[in-house]
């Protein structure tokens, strides 16, 4: 593991003293850029991994197919982002996915929460989707052309995911007493983790014009979410936020077990091709 490569701070060890200052700045930018790509890539990968757990477990066969499609979109996003990060870090997508420990991941806690019931899946897809919708829309104009390209593809996919989640949120929220209760419970469970998505972070200041300040996404994303919740006759929870820390190497308790499953085979055969 080389965690310093993915550190949020610019490398400033003695080794770098001989490096000309402009190159040092480039390397700092590269490390920051890679770090930002891990934010986005890890969120997408961990979401896809959770959706993968749904296949063969959906409430109706048609929904198995639908969740599979969404998972495949997210996995595609993760691969584009991690490949890019990997090029900056001298590692490939699989080394990043399979040979980093949970503390080296940069995903938020919300995406790594346990699978839960179908209401949890719908709520998470809605909350993360509404955030991603704003995020990728903003990133389509990123000064980094490759990231802008990834965002341009992702935004079309994410809009559909939000539509899918919104449709279900309304059906379940305004369905039966049981489905309403389950949706409200799921919403209450997820809500404390929502704020972490929008926490400001010094990293995005370092990447001015390339990255997006997450705090600026909050209002439009919340607008979208509350409009759906209104139609679904659900109440915005008044719960306090929890601490978060996923972007800074303080992952949720659930990430480790998830990665243990995801990585078990790859780590049993280090250096093998598949």
């Amino acid at each position: 593991m080389t965690p310093q490569l993915v550190s949020a701070t610019a490398p400033n060890g003695a080794d770098h003293a001989a490096v000309p200052s402009s190159r040092q700045a480039d390397m700092a930018d590269m490390a920051d850029m890679a770090e930002y790509l891990l934010w986005l890539g890890d969120d997408a990968l961990v979401s896809a991994q959770r959706l993968g757990e749904w296949i063969t477990n959906a409430p109706e066969l048609e929904e198995d197919v639908a969740l599979g499609n969404i998972g495949l979109d997210q996995l595609g996003q993760a691969r584009a982002l991690l490949s890019y990060a990997g090029e900056l870090l001298g590692r490939n997508e699989d080394e990043l996915a399979y040979f980093r420990d949970d503390v080296d991941f940069r995903c938020t806690h919300l995406v790594s929460l346990p699978r839960g019931d179908f209401a949890d899946a719908v709520v998470r897809l809605l909350l993360v989707g509404a955030y991603s919708e704003q995020l990728y829309a903003a990133l389509t104009t990123s000064a980094d052309e490759r990231l802008a390209g990834i965002a341009a593809k992702a935004i079309k996919e994410v809009r559909y995911h939000v539509e899918h989640a919104a449709g279900w949120a309304v059906r379940l929220g305004d369905g039966t007493d049981e489905s309403h209760r389950r949706m409200q419970d799921a919403l209450n469970r997820a809500w404390p983790y929502l704020d972490e998505l929008f926490d400001p972070h010094p990293l995005t200041d370092h990447l001015d014009g390339i990255a997006v300040d997450p705090a600026t996404l909050k209002e439009p994303a919340l607008q979208r979410i509350t409009a759906v919740l209104d139609e679904a006759t659900l109440t915005v929870p008044a719960t306090q936020r929890v601490a978060g820390g996923g972007r800074d190497g303080r992952p949720s308790e659930h990430l480790g077990p998830m990665l243990a499953v995801m990585q078990v085979l790859a780590r049993a055969h280090p250096g093998a091709s598949w």
Partner: protein, 98 residues
């Protein structure tokens, strides 16, 4: 236990337009609780490989079909009108552009 069977989601017929300039063609059916879900399911089920540019879904109960019992009276009368087909006219054989 598998529980008492709940009311099944209704059946929808799916029609997909494979490309611009072509008609929608019947692709199959699926179950969905409402039209919006039927469209989404149709998209996921019948266009996973880019098979379509447009989808129609129609509740199966809204399709009115001719009955096989009426087949003779509906379709046989058309069979004895060969003069509707260009091949009926032989006098123009060999004459250009006709």
């Amino acid at each position: 236990m598998s529980g008492s069977p709940t009311a099944e989601w209704p059946l929808w017929e799916v029609f997909v337009r494979p490309g611009r300039g072509l008609s929608h063609v019947h692709a199959g059916s699926l179950h969905a609780a409402d039209a919006e879900m039927a469209l989404g399911n149709a998209r996921d089920l019948y266009t996973r490989r880019g098979e379509g540019v447009s989808i129609w879904v129609v509740a199966s109960t809204d399709i009115h079909a001719s009955s096989p019992d009426e087949k003779d009276s509906l379709f046989d009368p058309a069979a004895d009108k060969p003069y509707r087909h260009p091949t009926f006219y032989t006098a123009s054989e060999g004459v250009p552009n006709l």
